[in-house]
Symmetry: C2
Subunit: 249 residues, 2 copies
Amino acid sequence: KAKIISFINQKGGVTKTTSCISVASAMARKGLKVLVCDLDQQCNASASLGVLEAEINAYSVLKGQCDLDIINVTDNLYLLPASNDLAAFDLEMSSEPGTEFLLKEALQPLKQVDVILIDCSPSLGLLTLNALTASDSYICPVLPNHLSVAGMSKLVEIADKVQRRLNPRLSLLGVLLSQFNSRKILHQDTASVIKAHFGDKLFRTVIRENISLAEAPSSGKSIFDYAPQSNGAIDYMNLTNEILEKLLQ
Amino acid sequence: KAKIISFINQKGGVTKTTSCISVASAMARKGLKVLVCDLDQQCNASASLGVLEAEINAYSVLKGQCDLDIINVTDNLYLLPASNDLAAFDLEMSSEPGTEFLLKEALQPLKQVDVILIDCSPSLGLLTLNALTASDSYICPVLPNHLSVAGMSKLVEIADKVQRRLNPRLSLLGVLLSQFNSRKILHQDTASVIKAHFGDKLFRTVIRENISLAEAPSSGKSIFDYAPQSNGAIDYMNLTNEILEKLLQ
Ligand SMILES: Nc1ncnc2c1ncn2[C@@H]1O[C@H](COP(=O)(O)OP(=O)(O)OP(=O)(O)O)[C@@H](O)[C@H]1O
Ligand SMILES: Nc1ncnc2c1ncn2[C@@H]1O[C@H](COP(=O)(O)OP(=O)(O)OP(=O)(O)O)[C@@H](O)[C@H]1O
Ligand SMILES: [Mg+2]
Ligand SMILES: [Mg+2]
């Protein structure tokens, strides 16, 4: 059975998508079979992996309009693409009994992958609840500034409710400090606030500010193919090693 | 009657909140009476203006639980704070007839302000539709990278539908390029793509990358009080001048 990890933070622009596809690419290079599940109506993860429109997508699968079928993007890397239609999911499915379990149910039959990484939209709505309910653990990327840190307690509060009521195995895999620049005092200060609050839940690996990570998505390539020597590639490979260490404990 | 402008982009982290409160502060310093209306459940605009919890907030007003009452934050600057409860708004109000008009209705009785600036969450849901329906115009902040630019056509498509069906006076006031660093090739490239697509809808003023803007929110001060000589203060004052120019045409 595949290990399922969600990248979640209702704060926007904190590198959920960048982290999800970079870790997926690193795992695929290590020989693991990885599925990226794009639950964000913006379709950023799908576009970054070079897939724009697909008939079989997270919306049509969750709505039961078609059976799950995944796209083989590159060696060992698969994608269940998003669709703009996901914007309607919360309203359409709010009265469906056990609506938080739809993703878990949809991913159940999947046999051919080792890990499933879920990219979420900047929200704590029904789709994100589906991700938390289907996941073994979640990763919370955060930028080293006050507005990013402000909402984290709300996320942990919601995740704890999901763990209590819907998914007893759910745990916080870690908080990931991203776009970090050690020369900026604000970044140092905020990092120590997060460290004091989350302790060893804060990943040792920090993702440094690195323009290659912002450039890679338009090439349709992972950071490892686009700029293999970059800080981005080094940091995300270190992070992936740290994630695999935690998963194997 | 107050001029109403919304800061909207479903892409996360593109400086909607920073732009909304910085322009509001600049307008207040020029002697205009300005209301910041925080429609984001994250409450970032409210927190940046030093207000955490308030009984009379955007949620309780929209739900008709209490009459509109605004907080006087500093000279000429007022706030209708957000609340975490806004997260439930879309589901709770989806079957209310004319639900997109609730904000317009709630702001109608306001007599004592000249301008209302609305901060939105990273979404195109019901609250954002309320903002578009209540507004004379909207501003779309964007970062100079591919993932930020990708969703802009969807935003314009939704705004056009609101203009056709719910609010004939709605127009795009401008696209704002933010966190711009002229030394980065990606930023120059993306800026020319946006310029080619939006023409003179792109504000002449560009907001440069400036750490003071990320530091200011924790001080509860505007950029003009926190770092008056900073690039952030200069750029947002120039932007405000450009906005006022457009409003007076
Ligand atoms: N380490 C980094 N250094 C510099 N830029 C980065 C880095 N990581 C990501 N970026 C850029 O920052 C922007 C925000 O990242 P991303 O879109 O992954 O965040 P997100 O949390 O998925 O956003 P949303 O909330 O909209 O889903 C992207 O344009 C990305 O290219
Ligand atoms: N010009 C700038 N230079 C550097 N940092 C900035 C600048 N403008 C804003 N920031 C920082 O970037 C982060 C994102 O900005 P902000 O929170 O205003 O975006 P947003 O679009 O409101 O995000 P959300 O989608 O979560 O509502 C904030 O932490 C802010 O402090
Ligand atoms: Mg994303
Ligand atoms: Mg915001």
